[in-house]
């Protein structure tokens, strides 16, 4: 008993050392962003950069969030997009993944390869055709092109991730329920979903972050200044003849905040100890 305790202690110390070093490195850019956001325009464009700001320019935040752009309107737009998108993605991705995971018919592999195949063709060559199709449907300048994919499983990334996870779950629960007469859909919602908590947490985090930070999609489809997303609005600070570094970093930091909160929130689903025992034997 003693030796395991000691082993854990040594292990913990080792872990802490590594993690602290990594953290310092990983957090560096964030520190840089913070310092830049507090520097004046002149300091930021000076050729040889200073490390600490000479004067704390808190007004960069005021200008960025209230004067330069209607930041909080865009914030709300983005919230709408992530909520709808993540919700739809989690539900549809897990449904589709369950199909691929549990129903081994001959065509399964074929369709799965097509699924992965959708990720293998560079989007640059389908961008314009997709745009033209949406334009013909008069749906450019709406959120539909950006969100529609989420209702069909999100991308192959989420479906594949979910499939791997579901395939790792023991089939015993489902078999028990089937014997009890439940149909597949009932089994799916009542039994599988509760077991997928870490997966759902992971998908939610990724989906939230990917929709929240996506600026390419909005740049192509959203031209109405009232419909901008928050990530898209960050590009407005970088104008051809003037880059508002301080304000851009200020807005960027505020933009990161919700994701950090969501990440911290979903941590409780990552707490170890989900025991799946109890059915075997």
């Amino acid at each position: 008993m003693v030796s395991t305790k000691k082993a854990k202690l040594y292990g913990d110390i080792f872990a802490y050392v590594i993690l602290i070093i990594c953290s310092l490195i990983f957090i560096l850019p964030l520190v840089w962003m913070l310092l830049t956001s507090l520097k004046s325009y002149d300091e930021n464009i000076s050729f040889i950069p200073t490390f600490l700001p000479q004067k704390l320019m808190f007004e960069n935040y005021r200008v960025a969030l209230f004067e330069f752009i209607p930041y909080f309107k865009y914030f709300t737009n983005s919230i709408f997009l992530v909520v709808v998108g993540t919700f739809a993605t989690v539900i549809t991705a897990t449904i589709v993944a369950y199909g691929f995971s549990r129903f081994k018919v001959k065509e399964n592999n074929f369709f799965f390869m097509i699924l992965l195949g959708t990720m293998m063709l560079p989007p640059q060559v389908t961008m314009i055709s997709s745009y033209v199709i949406w334009a013909k449907l008069y749906l450019v300048n709406t959120y539909v092109p950006l969100l529609i994919g989420c209702f069909f499983g999100g991308s192959a990334f989420y479906i594949f991730l979910a499939k791997q996870f579901i395939s790792g779950l023991p089939i015993d629960y489902e078999e028990a329920a089937q014997i009890d007469g439940a149909n597949k859909l009932q089994i799916f919602f009542k039994i599988i979903i509760p077991l997928l908590k870490p997966l759902i947490a992971a998908i939610s985090i990724f989906s939230f972050q990917s929709i929240w930070n996506d600026y390419m999609g909005p740049l192509i489809y959203i031209k109405d200044v009232n419909l901008y997303t928050v990530a898209q609005s960050l590009t407005l600070f970088d104008m051809p003849h003037e880059t508002l570094w301080g304000e851009m970093m200020a807005a960027s930091l505020v933009t990161i905040l919700p994701i950090v909160i969501i990440f911290a929130f979903f941590q409780k689903y990552f707490i170890s100890g989900i025991t799946l025992g109890g059915v075997k034997g």
Binding site: P29, V125, T275
Partner: protein, 298 residues
Amino acid sequence: MNDIVIKNKNIISIRKNFYLFIAPWLIGFILLNAIPMLISLVMSLTKWDMITEVEWVGLKNFIDIFTNDPLFYKSLGVTFLWASFLPIGIIFALFLANLLNRKMIGTTIFRTIVYIPVIVPAVANCLLWNWMFNIENGLLNMILNSVGLSSYTWLMSEKSVMFSLIIMSLWQVGANVVIFLAALQGVDKTLIEAAEIDGAGMYVKYFRITLPLISPAIFFQLIMGIIGALQVFMQGQLMTDGGPNKSTLFYILYLYRKAFEQNDMGYASGLAWILFAIIMIITIIVFKTIGKKVYYEN
């Protein structure tokens, strides 16, 4: 006779359920993906800028790509070199995930910090790293100099630019860490405990039990990693512009230039489908080799 009937009925029912569950994706694929993909396939047989008249050239694009285009091979080489560093990223992510999976105080904070680089907006990211990589006044060389090491050439030299971009991407390993964390959560504690009681040491516990149980996640990272690495683009576009001297001319960057700067959508589509074929072949090979070794609970 009855057995076969029951079996067939079962298969029909399984098949029905299969299509029922994958319907959301299948419908979406037909509506959203299939048409643009087909259009681009057709376009690869043309020389067309999408505005002026279409010029049909049949397989000329493909022939030119393979016989008359040194940049095709160059960019493919650059991209494969980039992709070859993928295992480092996966191993590093796995390593960090294991550390972050321990029951210690403060793991939430560490996990968040590890994930933060992933959520920094791309614009801010590139500007930041451009500065950090600056040879005379950038942060990284300042740090190197302060501990007595000489400055590194980072993005400015052909020999060091790839390494610099790799470092930059390793910094965003948090995304992979999250996936491994989720997978590690799914590892049944009772199995580990049972092994401990049987006297298994650390090595056995990890390599014989944990690793196989998270092998689906490792396999996922590998496949997604291959698909993603071969389509690397952002860093080439925003940070190095393919240089210096085409040493970071990634395949997609080359494709992008063909499509949007030289207005040859047909040629670019040809390049795209060739890449598609390459990725598909590699993926199928990986599925049939390493894929067979993945342990699925059922």
